[in-house]
Amino acid sequence: MAHYEIERTHPSFIKGSHKGRKWDKIVPAFLFVCTMISVLTTVGIVLTLVLESLPFFADVSVLQFLTTLRWSPPAGDFGILPLVSGTLLVTVLAMLVALPIGMMSAIYLSEYAPDRVRRIVKPVLEILAGIPTIVYGFFALTFVTPLLREMIPDMGLFNALGAGVVMGIMIIPLVSSLSEDAMSAVPRHLREAAFALGATRFEVAWKVVVPAALSGIISSFVLALSRAVGETMIVAIAAGATPKLTFSPLESIQTMTGYIVQVSGGDISYGSVDYKSIFAVGITLFGMTLLLNLLAQFIARRFKEDY
């Protein structure tokens, strides 16, 4: 091998010959501070909830809080389970509406609809998610529930069903849009592969696109789920304010969020245990959404498909 002993010397990239890189020091520090804000937010939320609920747990033991089957502050019964069951009931109902409809809409939009239709319908559906929730609350109470009561006469005016259905409608676009995004992200060549094997559009959608987009779809489900768990105004208005350990969708119930918003707008003394209980409920709610999100992360990683 030849050697070329005479080397060029070219010191232009020795340090010091280049100015104006101060930004590269300042910028990351600033960006880091911004990022820390969201961390501090969590710290703030946890601190607030814990500190404010400490006096409550001084009065009501955690065990009592978790195991008592009744929630009746005037009677001194602080069992979170009725509120949890109310929350779960409404959430399940909402999911029963939102998941199938959202999912089917997503499939229609991504696999069947002509491009023009998709470009119009998708944002139209997204409007549903942007409508303030108190609007939905009254829609549930004054439109949907009466309609439902025509069909199920012995249903109460306040009921989990109406609230759940409307909440489900509200979160349809969460499922349909995000799932559609996930399905659209499935590369075209996978679809072509299936078509080339003689698959029908339905078979392509159901056996190729949906499985490939599963992690995105499940993420959208979980996002919808935590939105449903955390939704306040619809349930406050339409589901009633009756903490009840029940799984009947026809009855009036109360959710955790409903309880918090009603107490914080009520007349009870801020010094009372009753009032402090909203922080205990808040921390439970926070814990539940945290759990859901962890689950979502786990599932998303589990179903992560690389195509």
């Binding site: 005037p74 005016l157 903490p243």
Partner: protein, 319 residues
């Protein structure tokens, strides 16, 4: 800017720092000169309409003053009072000892003024033709925590054996507390039965009772008054025969025991630093009867309002 400016817990004395002095200097209370400043009211949502009427009418006379009214709830009102955040608190129940304690600890003394009454109205569906009245005992039987009333027949013999569907405010409401006090009794831990349909919004309760032929509910009189076509008020017999709620029967205190007093607790300490506050309170009390009526509540007799003014003047001669 507004009058409250700091969240420090040690009361109002230290809070004038950000007060716009150019607005208040020399203008305080002087007749004929333009009054400026801000008054912040918060507290009961029941009393809120009264405060709003007062605010609006006061501002019509004193365009330089801003009066804002919140409806965060009686408890929240006292809370903010203690925190020194508001000039004025409204309540649909008397202040609780622990709330008074908190406010005193912050260096303030809440003075209570009763504005009038809200009659808590027991209502049934307009189609209900068998309920002519209810006694207090019957109400207690229906609503007590250990109640075994399931149908109307359980309340009074001869009434239909139809399930009685109950509507009422939630536990967080002042009305709930008051109803317990008036009907169930005053002992600690007393509660209503928990299987009724609760809601914080009286409008929603109206809908409930109106939509359910065998329902029974209770809420503020104003909500009944606005919906008389769908609801029927139930006369209450407190031993002196059934009395139907109306502005008159509530006003003359013949409608018992469900007449609930409405209060305001102006912040005396704030008056020292907020020149607009005293004129506003004075205006409020001077016209309280009219405001209460206009809001759909029952006023007291004129003598009461004179007493109120007197009490006010005594309390604030120094201001």
């Amino acid at each position: 800017a507004c009058s409250q400016s700091s969240g420090t817990e040690d009361g109002g004395a230290s809070e004038e720092n950000s007060e716009p002095s150019e607005e208040s200097s020399g203008a305080a209370g002087e007749e004929g000169e333009e009054l400026t400043g801000t008054v912040v009211i918060n507290g009961s949502s029941t009393v809120y309409p009264v405060g709003m009427i007062a605010a609006e009418q006061f501002m019509a006379e004193h365009p330089g003053v801003n009066v804002t009214v919140g409806d965060a709830g009686s408890g929240a009102g006292f809370e903010m009072y203690a925190a020194g955040e508001i000039d004025f608190s409204e309540a649909s129940r008397p202040i609780k000892p622990e709330e008074k304690e908190a406010i005193k600890e912050a260096g303030m003394t809440p003075v209570e003024y009763t504005l009038g009454y809200d009659g808590i109205t027991v209502v049934v569906n307009a189609e209900n033709d068998f309920v002519d009245h209810l006694t207090v005992e019957e109400l207690k039987k229906i609503w007590s925590a250990d109640s075994d009333v399931q149908t109307w027949a359980d309340v009074r013999d001869g009434w239909p054996e139809e399930e009685i569907v109950l509507y009422g405010p939630g536990t967080e409401s002042g009305t709930y507390d008051f109803f317990i006090e008036a009907i169930i009794g005053e002992e600690e831990g007393a509660a209503l039965r928990s299987d009724y349909t609760a809601n914080a919004d009286d409008n929603i309760l109206v809908q409930g009772v109106a939509g359910d032929p065998y329902s029974l509910g209770f809420f503020g009189y104003a909500y009944y008054a606005e919906n008389q076509d769908q609801l029927k008020a139930v006369p209450i017999d407190n031993g002196d025969g059934p009395v139907e709620p109306s502005i008159e029967t509530i006003s003359d205190e013949s409608y018992t025991p469900l007449s609930r007093p409405l209060f305001i607790y102006p912040n005396s300490e704030k008056m020292k630093e907020n020149p607009a506050l005293k004129p506003f309170v004075q205006f409020y009390l001077e016209n309280a009867k009219q405001f209460v009526e206009e809001a759909g509540y029952a006023p007291l007799d004129d003598a009461h309002y004179e007493e109120l003014l007197q009490k006010f003047e005594e309390a604030h001669v120094d201001v």
